[in-house]
């Protein structure tokens, strides 16, 4: 049978959701796959929501909001844009194609545009095939990746960076110094990389205790780097030595209350 992708759309109430209504009112046809969730503003889209949705096997996720400048809440849509930007970087590390997440601006008067972007995205997903996390047997590695990404997205560091991006770039940080977008992106990329890998380590050793060497092999990462992350994770109380085999300590994940 043909592949009917599961697509979830997070739409803002004022522009995109109204646009979707208009498409219906004007009888403009588009594929049936999308399942729309109405939010007051695209800015409401928490990265965790998106990752959770992927983790549960969605083949694609669309976030839609008002065009820049039209946001009913001034710039919730720009917040959404930043979050999606971060998410794509994060997802690209998990083995899931970041193209499965798309952000679009659709206004209340653009029923036709709504249908177009939904159609286009649906066909794109069909071309890409089912998500590795869809169906009965999700790909364990990717799932681990997504869970790690989700954990990273829940973590203070990434959230505060995304939340403060505008502030830091436009108003300047506590030292009144404004960061260039490039500089900020570097910081952001670094944070994404480390936070992701740390959580990836955590989820890996949650399955079975592993040594630094084993981990570095598994994650194809320099043992020193692995060790540094282990140290941070131990400090965060997420990892502890499970046992020592010969001279090699095996690390295990602690169940943390997150």
């Amino acid at each position: 049978m043909t592949f009917e992708p599961k697509i979830v759309g997070f739409l803002c109430n004022w522009c995109s959701y109204a646009g979707a209504d208009l498409a219906g009112v004007s009888r403009i046809a588009y594929p049936t796959n999308i399942r729309i969730i109405r939010l007051m503003c695209s800015g409401r889209v928490d990265p965790v929501l998106v990752l959770e949705t992927f983790a549960n096997g969605a083949d694609g996720v669309m976030v839609m909001g008002c065009h820049p400048g039209d946001c009913h809440y001034v710039e919730g849509n720009l917040q959404a844009e930043r979050k999606v930007k971060m998410l794509k970087k994060l997802i690209s590390r998990t083995g899931l194609e970041p193209e499965r997440l798309r952000l679009e601006w659709v206004s209340a008067s653009e029923g036709g545009l709504f249908a177009d972007v939904v159609r286009d995205f649906t066909y794109q997903i069909i071309a890409m095939g089912p998500s590795p996390l869809a169906g009965e047997k999700p790909d364990v590695d990717v799932l681990e990746g997504i869970l790690a990404a989700k954990a990273a997205a829940e973590d203070f560091r990434l959230r505060v960076l995304v939340g403060r991006e505008k502030g830091i770039i436009e108003d300047g940080n506590v030292y009144e110094e404004k960061l260039s977008q490039e500089k900020f992106d570097e910081t952001m990329d670094e944070a994404i990389a480390t936070e992701y890998i740390r959580n990836k380590i955590y989820f890996t050793i949650r399955r079975e205790p592993l040594s630094v060497r084993e981990l570095s092999k598994h994650l194809d990462l320099d043992p020193q780097a692995v060790l540094r992350h282990i140290v941070v994770l131990r400090r965060r109380g997420m990892v502890a030595v499970d046992r020592v085999e010969g001279t090699t300590p095996l690390y295990a994940a602690l169940e943390v209350g997150r």
Binding site: I37, G76, R157, R159, R164
Partner: protein, 569 residues
């Protein structure tokens, strides 16, 4: 003492056929049967029209008979119908926030009318998603706020003044803010008004006189709106006077009556090149000031820069009648003058305008229909006159008209500061560049944002009578909250968990409404009447300490999971 399972929500699902709007595509009975299988659903039924008073009473009955504590209606869009169904729940004693809608018409049966099976599957999923969310809904209350019994009218034209006067006479304070140095707007430029041919100045003087005399009205001319903060009932307005000084005041409602500009047809039909090519507005002013030395032959061209294929596609509504009127004024004073009117479709709608056309024909005004494909062409002659060559669409012949004066009817267009205002007030602008009302049919002079209204040509091109009608209309709309003195606001607001908040202040920076501030304990606190419930703060809070009411993480995630994981049902 209650047993555990008694605390489980009791969900009722009402699926609407909407005649055949839904029923003709989606297999509604099947959806109902499916709904019954979903967790916590204790009752489900279908209605021909759930919104009919019969449907409404069905909901109320259901709540009573099956003591339902969550109601789901699967029908059209919550944007139009949620209030109705919420009210029904309330009347049956159920908190209206325990209601959820599944949009299986606008976003299912209509766009997918050619795929009934898939549409039915989608409808089921949408219902399942609604059920998933409904189970987690919490009752909410709408805080009550006081309304400042005054109105800001932006624009001192005929619309603004009419609205202001009507409100003032109802006993409300009104502040008119006009960017020009005096009241009057477009009417100041006009000569006589069709169809009564009354002098524009006459009516204008009467009204502006009454406005100035009214003790309830403050007029701020040469004044610009700097900033508008707040919300219905409590808007905070910053203005800047001509002399640079700024002022601040509070109003309960805002009326947008900013009017329009008129298109300058530069580069069209030799406008700007030849001195005897004028716009209809320029002609009007000349006629008023008696400065037009009478030409032998006049040609008027309609739809100059309007009703185009691409770009300015709309019809400017007032041009045909204005041209007819000016043509007649010319004929009246100079019967021998030839006047040709080159039109596409004569917009002589409504009561008197057809007879008006006949009057013009009686006076010998000549009508030639041209087509968009073959617009008239203008060729200058040595003696300074012009040859207008037009393809008579209804004779199929090229006709040459020698003329001393060419008059171009150009459309009313959005005025340049409309965009600024649109951002400031969060009011949308439509594809035609004019302000976009809440609903084209039934809310023609409201904005989606509560407490802000639109009238006159800011809404779309229209003549004086039509502007006045709308102006009086907004005077009613804007008076409602003022008369009520206080009102209830959204319950869908953000809530900070003090125990989780680290006081990082991210949310404070993000909130566009300054609805979040740190309190003495250094943790974030939400001012609910200011909060508009976008939820961006919650989505950004590093500590995930903010809960967005009615759109909580677990509610939204539940919906998302229900969307992708059928087996969860």
């Amino acid at each position: 003492m209650k047993r555990a399972e008694d605390n489980a929500p009791r969900i009722g699902v009402f699926v609407c056929h909407c005649g055949i709007n839904i029923g003709g595509v989606v297999d509604v009975p099947q959806v109902v049967e499916y709904a019954k299988t979903l967790p916590n659903v204790v009752y489900a039924e279908d209605n021909l029209y759930t919104c009919s008073s019969e449907g409404i009473s069905k909901i109320k009955e259901g709540i009573g008979r099956y003591n339902l504590d969550r109601i789901i209606v699967a029908s059209c869009t919550p944007r139009t119908h949620e209030p109705l169904f919420r009210a029904a729940c309330e009347e049956a004693g159920l908190n209206k926030y325990l209601f959820e809608m599944a949009n299986i018409r606008d976003q299912c049966s209509w766009p997918h009318l050619h795929e009934p099976e898939k549409a039915t599957e989608k409808a089921k999923d949408l219902v399942r998603m609604a059920v998933a969310k409904a189970g987690l809904l919490k009752p909410l209350v709408e805080p009550e706020i006081d309304v400042t019994p005054s109105t800001l009218v932006i624009g001192g034209g005929i619309s603004g003044m009419t609205a202001a006067l009507c409100l003032a006479n109802q006993g409300f304070r009104v502040c008119i803010v006009e960017k020009e140095s005096e009241l009057g707007g477009r009417l100041k430029q006009l000569h006589k008004l069709y169809p009564t041919l009354v002098n524009a100045s006459k009516g204008l003087d009467q009204i502006s006189g009454a406005v100035k005399a009214n003790r309830n009205i403050d007029v701020l001319t040469s004044t610009l709106i700097k900033q508008v903060k707040g919300f219905i009932g409590n808007f905070e307005v910053d203005v800047q006077r001509g002399n640079g000084e700024t002022a601040k005041f509070e109003v309960g409602t805002i009326i947008v009556a900013t009017g329009t500009d008129v298109l300058e047809p530069v580069g069209m039909y030799g406008y700007g090149e030849h001195s005897n090519v004028l716009t209809q507005l320029q002609l009007e002013t000349l006629l008023r000031d008696g400065k037009l030395e009478m030409p032998q032959r006049v040609v008027m061209v309609q739809c100059v820069g309007s009703r185009e294929e691409k770009g300015r596609t709309y019809c400017s509504r007032v041009c045909c009648m204005t041209a007819l009127k000016n043509a007649m004024l010319i004929k009246e004073s100079h019967p021998r003058t030839d006047v040709h009117l080159l039109f596409r479709d004569l917009q002589t709608y409504g009561g008197h305008y057809e007879d008006y056309r006949r009057m013009a024909q009686d006076m010998g005004v000549k009508f030639i229909k041209y087509s968009l494909e073959k617009p008239p062409q203008v060729f200058p002659k040595e003696d300074g006159r012009l040859d207008v060559s037009v393809y008579h669409a209804l004779l199929g012949e090229e006709i040459n008209l020698e003329t001393d004066l060419l008059v171009l009817s150009t459309p009313l267009i959005q005025c340049e500061d409309a965009k600024k205002l649109s951002h400031m007030l969060k009011i949308p602008i439509g594809p035609d560049g004019f302000f976009l009302e809440a609903h084209v049919k039934l809310r023609p002079i409201d904005f989606a944002t509560d407490g802000i209204y639109v009238c006159g040509t800011a809404h779309s091109p229209k003549d004086t009578a039509e502007s006045v009608s709308q102006a009086l209309g907004v005077a009613s709309r804007a008076a409602i909250p003022l008369a009520m003195k206080h009102m209830r606001t959204e319950a869908i607001t953000a809530m900070v968990d003090e125990n989780l908040c680290s006081g990082c202040g991210t949310c404070v920076k993000i909130c566009p409404y300054s609805a979040i501030a740190k309190d003495e304990k250094g943790v974030a606190r939400v001012t609910e009447v200011l909060c508009k419930g976008c939820g961006t703060c919650g989505a950004s809070c590093p500590e995930k300490a903010i809960t967005m009411r009615h759109f909580t993480d677990d509610q939204v995630i539940a919906q998302a999971l229900a969307a992708v994981r059928r087996e969860l049902a």
